[in-house]
């Protein structure tokens, strides 16, 4: 079957593939060191289950057909070189399956090419048409060769290869044509293999590697930063770690991040796709050399407006089909801008200053930290208790959220839980400083908090704010403070489940939920919120269009709570319109930033009967008396 010339050609193609891949890998291997362990089982599960690609049903299934249309025939061709003996029915069925798969792949490829032809450059980049055309050539020549073969055999219609039979009915029984088609098919396959590292198809390798090395931490956990190097954060492209650069290499610009990014949707200059693309372009321009002087700075391509538009809502991380994390790159660039150059937006300087002097984001001071609890019988933590209630800056200072903190106390008392607060010992958890890029201030505050928490005896920490929750749970352990942390929603759901509290009074209203980013996408906590919302007697619960993983950030996270929103539309108005359209009477959430932004947004729309925004904790408290 194979001549020695063919073998030579195959070897040459594989050699070109190898050299190409090695050269591509040198692009991202210049990154800084980072410890990552891979998982083959995760990769296998991802490839077999087609990962997240099917979230877009049409394009996703086209991709699935093309993927298996390449992988399965390639495997079968490889195996058939050893001439295995198969029973006739099995080989017939296999033939039928491959024929149909080929047809599906043909349709998928035509669909993809039409998309590339008709859609804009953003939705279907023209450069990606080359591998698609090559694949189309492979499929078409394959069918033509099959058709002529059947035509030579003169068997008429055979059920094992229906598509081939259709082709054979119009093709001449010419052995020459068959040979030509087989050669064309063979050359097209070789071309595909050899060109793989140089076209968009390299995502087969880079994407798989990226899935293999994917982070297994919760999305909410930010990459920790080394403060030992010359400057903190990412100034030039080689300041990123190799994994971060591999992320950029694996990105195929599918745009799922952009479609879900609240900043992009509300017309701000940020697009996670553009950020990753810029990094990829700079990586290519650098061409694997680290020592080259005059390397361009990252912020020549990625402006401050882009960096500061990010709400760190993790939608881009959640929706990327190959686990690219645009967020940690944006954060590393922020860190350099703030700590390396002191370029923090003016309005956020006051917040950082408050954190530095008063240890809270509202600048009210430690002396006022227990004002919300004054005369309300909130116990200070003294002896060993079950629950340490972590109030957070919002619970302690924000006039609206103080009500939630009091409601939480009411629930804990109703449930007979022994609890206590740290009172004036509690500081800000440090999340705003960290998300604003001030890592050194975060470390200072966090270490002080850990020291103070460790002195106390308790079973678990209960937080009201998802941002505190995420910081205490995911970010303190790397600083030596591993504590069991639960969020109020989880804890209350458990209390209801164990009948510690009974929801006595009904809530006759149409209620919807907003999933806070740092609970949902950040830590995968969706169910407790649902459980609580459905536990109220008399409630009509329904879903907003943007729910769960697609929950739309209101623009309070990532330090945006303390920044002006000057560009584009206001995120909270966009979301408020959705809520008003849905006809919800009560909107439940579980985050102080969401609560503030939501209330502002809905009041701003000035509708006749505005939806009432409440924290789930408050709703539960009003339902238990």
């Amino acid at each position: 079957m194979l001549t020695s010339f063919d073998v030579l050609l195959i070897a040459a193609a594989i050699l070109i593939l190898g050299i190409g891949l090695a050269r591509r890998s040198s692009l991202w291997l210049v990154g800084q060191e980072e410890m990552r362990t891979g998982s083959l089982s995760a990769l296998a599960a991802y490839l077999l289950g087609s990962g997240k690609i099917l979230k877009r049903p049409l394009q996703g299934s086209a991709h699935v057909f093309v993927f298996w249309g390449v992988v399965l025939p390639a495997l079968i061709v490889l195996v058939s070189q050893f001439r295995p003996r198969l029973p006739e029915t099995l080989s017939n069925l296999l033939s039928l399956f491959l024929d149909l798969l080929g047809l599906a792949m043909l349709c998928a490829l035509v669909f993809m090419l039409v998309r590339r032809w008709t859609k804009s450059e953003e939705a279907g980049p023209k450069r990606t048409a080359v591998p698609a055309l090559t694949l189309l050539g492979i499929v078409v020549t394959g069918f033509l060769a099959e058709g002529t073969r059947l035509s030579i055999l003169g068997a008429g219609f055979s059920w094992q290869s229906p598509v081939g039979s259709v082709f054979s009915s119009v093709l001449p029984a010419s052995p020459l044509l068959m040979q030509v088609m087989i050669r064309l098919h063979f050359f097209a396959v070789l071309f595909l293999i050899a060109s793989l590292p140089f076209t968009f198809l390299r995502h087969l390798v880079a994407g798989s590697l990226n899935v293999y090395y994917k982070s297994r931490n919760p999305h909410g956990q930010l990459r920790s930063l080394s403060l030992e190097s010359d400057y903190p954060g990412a100034k030039r492209v080689n300041d990123f770690s190799w994994k971060q650069l591999l992320d950029a290499e694996a990105c195929v610009s599918c745009g799922r991040c952009e479609e879900n990014c609240p900043a992009a949707i509300s017309g701000k200059p940020l697009s996670p796709r553009k950020v990753v693309r810029s990094i990829q372009e700079q990586m290519q321009a650098m061409n694997g050399t680290v020592t080259k002087p005059g390397l361009p700075l990252l912020n020549q391509r990625i402006s401050d407006d882009e960096l500061w538009s990010c709400t760190t809502c993790m939608a881009c991380v959640e929706h990327c089909p190959v686990f690219v994390e645009p967020l940690d790159k944006i954060m590393d660039m922020r860190r350099y801008r703030v700590m390396g150059e002191g370029a923090l937006p003016a309005e956020a300087k006051a917040t950082i200053r408050s954190l530095l002097l008063y240890k809270d984001v509202y600048g009210k001071g430690i002396a006022h930290r227990t004002d919300w609890a004054f005369n309300r019988g909130v116990p200070l933590l003294s002896e060993e208790v079950e629950v340490l209630l972590w109030v957070g800056c919002s619970g302690a200072f924000h006039p609206r959220y103080q009500e939630t903190a009091r409601a939480m106390v009411k629930i804990l008392k109703a449930g007979g839980v022994r609890f206590g607060i740290l009172g004036k010992e509690e500081l800000c958890c440090g999340d705003p400083a960290r998300r604003l890029g001030e890592e050194s201030l975060f470390l200072e505050i966090a270490q002080e908090n850990i020291r103070r928490i460790k002195e106390r005896g308790f079973e678990k920490i209960l937080t009201l704010c998802p941002h505190c929750f995420n910081t205490l749970k995911n970010e303190y352990p790397s600083l030596g403070g591993s504590f069991p942390v639960v969020h109020a929603a989880e804890y209350i759901a458990d209390m209801i489940r164990l009948n510690k509290i009974a929801l006595k009074y009904s809530l006759p209203a149409k209620m919807a939920l907003h999933d806070p980013c740092y609970l949902g996408r950040g830590n995968g906590i969706y169910k407790p919120l649902w459980f609580i919302a459905n536990a109220f007697p008399g409630v009509t619960f329904f879903e907003l269009p943007w729910n769960r993983e697609c929950g739309f950030c209101w623009g309070g996270g990532g330090g945006r709570m303390w920044l002006h929103e000057k560009l584009g539309m206001r995120m909270n108005l966009l979301r408020a319109e959705e809520v008003v359209k849905s006809g919800a009477e009560v909107l439940g959430t579980a985050c102080p930033y969401c609560l503030t932004m939501l209330e502002d947004g809905i009041k701003n729309l000035e509708t006749g009967k505005p939806a009432k925004v409440m924290d789930l904790v408050e709703i539960v408290a009003s339902s238990i008396r």
Partner: protein
């Protein structure tokens, strides 16, 4: 070009949450140690002048014990070149303060002396003027921006003249300017902050003679309780204690129970309250 910025460390009392009249209702948390905000703006102005000239040295000069070290080091991290401390541990009046400051300034030598318009704690606003008097230099107060002209040896200062009026003043160097709030203070870079952590503090000690104090602080007291923090006195206390609470200005909030939620729950709440307190009988249930 040498610039000296006089910087005051203050203990800023931002709250009054204590219960003890003998401690003036203060608790340790009510006070934070910081650098006077106006002086920080003065430092920012000094740094901007240094940057616009392209050369120069900015010296921080502080008087008295170091109580806000981390804040002083942050100021060094902003870009000041050195920190000089005049060691003295006695309470001083503005005239005595200006004696020590003027003496140190004479020793260090500078063509521009910047200080804050007034401090957040005492707000006398006199020290800058006294220093200028002792050194025999021109003095411009409440400056919000300044440009230096090293060729002619003058500084052009824009000052706040009250009622929204600005005055533009040309002044020969050396001079003393007292700076008002206005400029946006910069954030120190991380590497500068780290460097400032190990920067030395140059200490200077001067003999205690010199001019005697010309003013004397007889007492520091709040003239009346702060009205905004007074809440309704606890109705369970007797009249004497209630009046005492009002006079003290301490935070006492009435312990009430607000029933929120659905109508059912409010009714239940009121009924159970009445029963608990004996206003209503057990009923016939």
């Amino acid at each position: 070009m040498k610039i000296i910025v006089c910087i005051k460390q203050i203990g800023h009392v931002y709250a009054r949450t204590g219960m003890e009249p003998s401690e003036r209702f203060l608790t340790p948390e009510d006070k934070i140690y910081m650098v006077n905000p106006c002086d920080e703006v003065a430092l920012e102005m000094g740094l901007r002048l240094k940057e616009s000239l392209g050369e120069g040295e900015v010296t921080l000069l502080t008087l008295g014990p170091i109580i806000a070290e981390s804040e002083l080091r942050r100021c060094l991290g902003m870009g000041a070149d050195r920190l000089v401390q005049i060691e003295t541990d006695q309470g001083l009046d503005p005239w005595r303060k200006s004696f020590f400051l003027a003496r140190a300034i004479k020793e260090i030598g500078a063509s521009l002396i910047l200080c804050g318009k007034e401090s957040l704690d005492r707000q006398s606003g006199q020290v800058g003027a006294y220093v200028a008097h002792r050194l025999g230099l021109p003095f411009v107060s409440a400056v919000v921006s300044a440009t230096m002209n090293p060729g002619t040896g003058t500084v052009e200062a824009e000052r706040r003249a009250g009622r929204g009026v600005r005055e533009l003043i040309g002044c020969s160097l050396p001079a003393v300017l007292s700076v008002d709030m206005g400029l946006e203070v910069r954030l120190p870079k991380f590497e500068d902050k780290q460097r400032a952590l190990s920067a030395p503090v140059e200490k200077r000690v001067y003999p205690e003679e010199g001019d005697p104090a010309r003013t004397l602080v007889r007492a520091i007291f709040p003239p009346r309780p702060r009205p905004k923090n007074v809440f309704t006195p606890d109705s369970r206390l007797d009249a004497f204690e209630r009046i005492q609470q009002l006079l003290m200005g301490s935070r006492v909030e009435k312990k009430g129970n607000m029933f929120t939620g659905s109508v059912d729950s409010q009714v239940d709440g009121i009924v159970s309250f009445l029963k608990e307190h004996g206003f209503a009988g057990k009923g016939k249930e």
